[in-house]
C-alpha cells in the first residue's frame, strides 16, 4: 500500500463507484483516487470532496490512454448498455495492459449465473438469459480472462443485491413505491431469497481485492451476512420509513395485471427509443400532455414486471466462502443496520418524511 499510488475509479458518478471514491477519500493511505466520469452531470456527489475528476469515455481509446497514465490500479465500476459494458471494458483492459497498470478490479454481477437456483458458488456455470445486463457482464468477464492470460492482473467481483444510500434500484425505487403505496406484489410471490449486500461491505471487498495476493484471474461472489426473503426486506424498509403496513393485492389479479401490461411496457420502451425527440416535444407541448405521459409512466411503474415476479420468488444463495478465504472478506453490515442507514439517508436526501 502506498499513498502515492494512483487508483482510477471508472463509473465514479454512479452508486458503487461513488461510494468507492468516498471510501478512498476518507482513507488516503490506500492511494490517491482518480475519479472518472463519462458525463460531468454525474459528478455532483463526488464533487463534495475537493477532487479533480476526469472525463473519460470508455468507448474513446484516446481518453483512456491519458486517464491511465501513471495509474497503479483500476476499480472498474462503469456500466452501461451492451456497448459500454463490453466494448468499454475491452478498451479499458487493452489500455491498462498497454500502460502497465498492475491490477484491475472488475465489477461484475451474480446475474451471470442466469436463472439458476439453489446454491451457486463461483464455479457454477454461467448462463445467458437474453437480458442485456447479465449477458453483457458474461461477455465482459470473458474479456477479463483473456487479458489476465495476456499478463494483466484482473480480479472479478460478483456482487448480489447491493443496497444502501444512492442505490436507485434496491433502495430509492423501493422507497418511492412504498411512499406512493404502490407496492403491488402479493406476499406469497416475494418469498424468494433476497441476497442483500450493504454497499460498504462491497466496497470493503473491492478495496481488499486491490492488494490481496494470489487472487488475480479469480472471480468472487460478494454477498451480505444474512439471507432474508424479499417480503422481509420490503416490510423492513416500509416499517423503517414509518409507513402503514402493506396491503398487497390478491395474487391472481396482480399477476394477471403484470402479464397484460407487459406488451405495453415493451411497446412503450421501443417507441421511446425510436421516437425520443418526438416524445420529448409532445411532453413539452402542454400541461395535459405532461400529465398523460406521467400517468402512463407511473401506471407502468406501479405494475411489477414478470421479471420482478421471477426475481422475488427465486430461491438462490451465493456463498462467499471463496472471498472470505482468499480476499479476507467479512461481511459486517446486517440487514437491520443496513436498512436503518438507508432510511436515515432517504430521509436526509429525499422527501421521505411523510407520505406523498
Amino acid at each position: 500500500m502506498s499513498a502515492e499510488r494512483k487508483i482510477l475509479v471508472t463509473g465514479a458518478g454512479g452508486f458503487i463507484g461513488g461510494r468507492v471514491v468516498e471510501a478512498l477519500c476518507q482513507h488516503p493511505s490506500l492511494g490517491q483516487v482518480v475519479p472518472s466520469v463519462r458525463r460531468w452531470s454525474t459528478a455532483a456527489r463526488l464533487g463534495r470532496y475537493p477532487l479533480d475528476p476526469i472525463q473519460c469515455d470508455l468507448l474513446n481509446p484516446s481518453d483512456l490512454e491519458s486517464a491511465l497514465e501513471g495509474v497503479d490500479s483500476v476499480i472498474h465500476c462503469a456500466v452501461g448498455g451492451l456497448d459500454a459494458t463490453v466494448q468499454g471494458t475491452r478498451n479499458l483492459l487493452e489500455a491498462a495492459l498497454g500502460q502497465g497498470v498492475r491490477r484491475v478490479v472488475h465489477l461484475s454481477t451474480v446475474d451471470v449465473y442466469g436463472r439458476a437456483e439453489g446454491r451457486l458458488p463461483e464455479d457454477h456455470a454461467l448462463q445467458l438469459t437474453g437480458r442485456e445486463y447479465g449477458d453483457s457482464k458474461i461477455a465482459a468477464e470473458s474479456l477479463c480472462r483473456t487479458f489476465q492470460e495476456r499478463g494483466l492482473e484482473v480480479v472479478i467481483l460478483r456482487p448480489t443485491i447491493v443496497y444502501g444510500p444512492f442505490s436507485d434500484l434496491w433502495t430509492v425505487e423501493f422507497a418511492e413505491r412504498l411512499r406512493e403505496r404502490a407496492w403491488l406484489l402479493p406476499r406469497e410471490t416475494c418469498q424468494g431469497t433476497c441476497n442483500l449486500v450493504y454497499v460498504d461491505d462491497l466496497v470493503r471487498a473491492i478495496l481488499l481485492s486491490l492488494d490481496a495476493p494470489g487472487v488475480a484471474g479469480r472471480a468472487y461472489n460478494v454477498n451480505g451476512p444474512d439471507r432474508i426473503t424479499w417480503q422481509g426486506y420490503v416490510e423492513a424498509l416500509n416499517d423503517g420509513l414509518g409507513y402503514p403496513p402493506l396491503a398487497p393485492p390478491p395474487p391472481a389479479s396482480a399477476r394477471l395485471r403484470s402479464r397484460v401490461t407487459e406488451p405495453f411496457r415493451a411497446l412503450i420502451k421501443v417507441a421511446y427509443f425510436r421516437f425520443e425527440n418526438q416524445v420529448q416535444a409532445i411532453y413539452k407541448s402542454s400541461r395535459l400532455a405532461r400529465a398523460l405521459i406521467k400517468g402512463v409512466q407511473g401506471g407502468l411503474r406501479r405494475v411489477p414486471s414478470p421479471a420482478e415476479y421471477d426475481l422475488y420468488s427465486r430461491e438462490v444463495e451465493f456463498p462467499t466462502d471463496r472471498a472470505e478465504q482468499e480476499l479476507g472478506y467479512r461481511p459486517a453490515v446486517h440487514w437491520e443496520e443496513g436498512v436503518n442507514r438507508s432510511v436515515a439517508w432517504l430521509r436526509h436526501e429525499g422527501e421521505f418524511s411523510r407520505l406523498g
Partner: protein
C-alpha cells in the same frame, strides 16, 4: 442593428438565449459566437444560421454593443469587467459572481462607466413569481409567519465543464447554483432584511450538494432545503396570518392560495384552496427568453437600467456568502466509511 456576442456556447446558450436572438431577426441583431472550443461554436452556428465565431471575447470586444455571458460561473465577473471597461454592456447568466466583493466591484464599474450589467435571474420574469410579489406587497397574507423553500433534483444539467464540482468549484455548489434563485426571490419578495440563522451542508471541502439553511426576517423564519442529489418537493410555501401561498417552481402561470389561518397543512380540511392562474403566461422557461433579451437590448439602446442589475442581486449574494462563512456539516451518520480491520492493521 445591435452587435451581440454570445460568450460560452453551452446548453443555456443553445436552449435559452440563441433561440430568442434568432427570433429577433438579422436586421435587428447580429450575433457572434464565442467559445474556446471552435467546433462547438461552429456547431451552434450551423444550427442558428450564424457564421461568425471567435475563440475569446477579446477578439471581438471592440466591435460589440453587448455580450451575453454563458460561461462557467467563476468567469462571469472577470469577463464582464473587461467588456464593461471596453464599453460593452453585459447580460450575465446567474450567478453573476462567486463573491460579494467581485459583484460589488463590477457594480461600481458598471455605474461609473454608465454601461449596463444585467443578470438573468429568470425567476423575476416568471408571471407566477411577479404575482406572489404583488400579493405580498398588497398584504394579502397579512403578516408573513414562515416560508419554506425546497428545491432540487438529481443534477441533470448537461454541464460541458467540471467547473461546478469538486476542487474546481472552490467549495461552492448547489447553494450558488439553485440557492441563488431561491434567495434572490426571497430578498425580492420579503426585502433585504433577511438574516442568516444557520447553514448546514454536505461539503467535505468540495461543492456542497445538499443544503439546509434557516433565515429570519421580521418575526418570520425562512427555511431553505436544496439538493443536487435527489428529487425535492420543488415547492415554496409562504404562510401568513391570513392565508398560505404555494408555488410549484416549474409552474410559470399558477399559484395556489388558501385562505384562513396559517396553522396546519395548507390543504387540510376547511382550507379553501384556490388555484390562481395568471393569463398570458409563457408555456416554458425558454419562452421567457424574449423578455429577458428584450429588456437587455432596451437597456443597450436607451441606457435605461435593466430589470435585474448587479446591484439588485447583491442582497442574495450577501446571504450566500454568509452561509458559506458559517457552514457546518449536516449530520450524515451513514457517510463515514470503516475499513476492513485487515487494512487498518
Amino acid at each position: 442593428m445591435i452587435r451581440i456576442a454570445v460568450v460560452g456556447c453551452g446548453a443555456i446558450a443553445e436552449s435559452f438565449h440563441l433561440p430568442a436572438l434568432e427570433a429577433l431577426g438579422k436586421d435587428e441583431v447580429s450575433v457572434v459566437l464565442v467559445d474556446p472550443d471552435r467546433s462547438r461554436a461552429r456547431e451552434l452556428g450551423r444550427r442558428f444560421g450564424l457564421t461568425e465565431t471567435a475563440l475569446s471575447h477579446r477578439e471581438v470586444a471592440g466591435e460589440l454593443d453587448g455580450a451575453v455571458l454563458c460561461t462557467p460561473h467563476h468567469l462571469h465577473v472577470p469577463i464582464a469587467s473587461e467588456l464593461v471597461q471596453a464599453g460593452v454592456g453585459v447580460l450575465s447568466e446567474k450567478p453573476l459572481g462567486t463573491s460579494v466583493a467581485e459583484v460589488e466591484a463590477l457594480r461600481d464599474l458598471s455605474e461609473s462607466a454608465g454601461i449596463p450589467v444585467a443578470v438573468n435571474q429568470t425567476r423575476r420574469f416568471i408571471p407566477a413569481c411577479r404575482e406572489i410579489r404583488r400579493l405580498l406587497q398588497a398584504g394579502e397574507l397579512g403578516r408573513v409567519e414562515s416560508v419554506e423553500m425546497a428545491e432540487g433534483d438529481r443534477f441533470g444539467w448537461p454541464a460541458a465543464t467540471p467547473s461546478m464540482f469538486g476542487a474546481a468549484a472552490g467549495g461552492k455548489g448547489v447553494l450558488l447554483d439553485i440557492g441563488v434563485h431561491a434567495l434572490d426571490l426571497a430578498t425580492w419578495w420579503f426585502g433585504s432584511e433577511l438574516s442568516l440563522e444557520s447553514h448546514n451542508d454536505d461539503s467535505f471541502g468540495g461543492s456542497e450538494a445538499a443544503v439546509r439553511s434557516r433565515f429570519r426576517f421580521g418575526g418570520a423564519t425562512l427555511s431553505l432545503r436544496l439538493s443536487w442529489l435527489a428529487k425535492q418537493s420543488n415547492r415554496y410555501m409562504i404562510r401568513g396570518e391570513d392565508g398560505v401561498i404555494t408555488w410549484n417552481v416549474y409552474d410559470l402561470d399558477r399559484i395556489e392560495i388558501s385562505r384562513g389561518p396559517a396553522q396546519g397543512p395548507a390543504r387540510g380540511p376547511g382550507d379553501r384552496v384556490r388555484v390562481h392562474r395568471i393569463p398570458g403566461a409563457p408555456a416554458s422557461f425558454a419562452d421567457l427568453a424574449p423578455e429577458v433579451i428584450g429588456d437587455f437590448l432596451d437597456s443597450l439602446r436607451t441606457g435605461s437600467p435593466p430589470a435585474v442589475s448587479a446591484e439588485d442581486v447583491l442582497p442574495a449574494m450577501r446571504l450566500i456568502e454568509a452561509c458559506y462563512a458559517r457552514r457546518e456539516r449536516v449530520a450524515m451518520p451513514w457517510h463515514d466509511f470503516t475499513l476492513d480491520p485487515s487494512h487498518v492493521s
